[in-house]
Symmetry: none
């Protein structure tokens, strides 16, 4: 028998939330003390877990109630309907993002950032340096436009662009850091690594497997990189290198 705060601490929700769930009949405690204290059993906890799962995938509390209270409820059907709904929402978001993008572009017109500004305080700049090392190599293998275009890319980034890039970078690093307890060959990890390569390609230059391998080594060899990456987790650079190499081995 657990009291509210215990339950709250165990599963990571607020006491208020439990009160609320009690109030709407979604999760009622097994028993109540004479003083009116709520007492939950472990089977109550199980139900709470289920509630949280459905909440995570976007079900409303009412929908969750339906799904959990009626054993004959067609869960699969509910999930599929729900998925359609989610996809529509995503479509809405895609459209919105697209419109915002267009608006931004129309607002822009000559505000590209100067190199001076760009160099200030952004470690990201180092990736560009790395690019130069490989520039010749790349130039041999790919049509000129590809490379030129890529170089033109970063030269027009504004401070905000760099900010965005930094944020997205941090996110990817973070996602990988979160999974450092897994094997570097873990599918989710590999997927993030793929996103990283793709990200470099989209924002800096066409990132070939050779370059990617080169980057992997650079991350542990060059202290500037290592320091920056390990901010996200002790030994991330080492781990990342392994994962990247595995990725390259599997894909080329």
């Amino acid at each position: 028998m657990y009291k509210v705060k215990e339950v709250a601490d165990i599963v990571g929700v607020s006491v208020r939330t439990l009160h609320h769930y009690d109030q709407i009949g979604l999760l009622q405690p097994e028993s109540i003390t004479p003083a009116g204290y709520r007492l939950y059993t472990s089977s109550n906890l199980e139900r709470l877990q289920q509630i949280l799962f459905f909440k995570e995938i976007g079900f409303s509390l009412q929908e969750i109630k339906n799904v959990l209270d009626q054993p004959d409820f067609d869960r699969k059907e509910a999930l599929k309907l729900h998925k359609d709904l989610l996809k529509k929402k995503r479509q809405r978001l895609d459209d919105m993002i697209h419109t915002v993008d267009q608006t931004i572009q129309s607002l822009e017109g000559g505000t590209a950032m100067t190199n001076e500004d760009m160099f200030k305080g952004f470690d990201m700049k180092e990736i560009e340096e790395h690019q130069k090392k490989y520039a010749d190599e790349v130039r041999e293998k790919y049509p000129k436009e590809t490379v030129d275009q890529a170089q033109a890319k970063t030269s027009q980034y504004t401070k905000d662009d760099w900010q965005n890039i930094m944020e997205e970078t941090n996110e990817i690093y973070g996602n990988i850091a979160k999974r450092m307890d897994r094997d570097p060959a873990d599918p989710e990890v590999q997927q993030e690594v793929g996103k990283w390569k793709q990200f470099i390609t989209e924002n800096f230059y066409y990132c070939t497997f050779e370059i990617f391998r080169g980057l992997a080594d650079l991350y542990v060899d060059d202290p500037r990189f290592t320091k920056n990456i390990d901010k996200h987790g002790e030994g991330l650079s080492q781990y990342l290198r392994k994962a990247m190499i595995i990725y390259c081995d599997n894909h080329s």
Copy 2:
């Protein structure tokens, strides 16, 4: 000078909405009759249009107020911040969709459609065939699980699933066909192409750029595909191929 209902009818919002905007000071009528009737000018209408635009891209009313009321407000900055927010929301949705998908798959296990049923009348089946051509190639490059999982996917689709897939496919083709007068590199066209690639990934197999390029060629080389695609518009397959190749060039 327009009265509330006129304004409401003109721009397509409810009278209540206008009341609300008045109340929160977002859009106040130019003048008020002795009887208390709201009277809007055409400049009020213009502001309303702006409000609706920002609303469409997901700004809150308070944010809109900030943007419109302060001429020195950095609109571009606001838009970029907003875009980040939207992207985060989309990421959340993506994750949710992914989880729902996995849950559905785990629930399925005995209700998969038989191959017999599946083959009947669904041209979509051909995409799967195409997959097989690339299966070996893909298998070399990606971790086994990825491919296996993908193959498991289609084998469990029900008739309804295929129906849905057909519908979504038609929608995307249709959207592209509608824009065939534009350059294949047109952003909207490219966006649809991106959706198509994403769609294949979600419903069939991890669609790499190589595969996507392969599909592009297949659409014009294989008469079964060509015929099917050109149903949506004369020469769509040719057009689609160009657009897909451009997409690949820009993204990889």
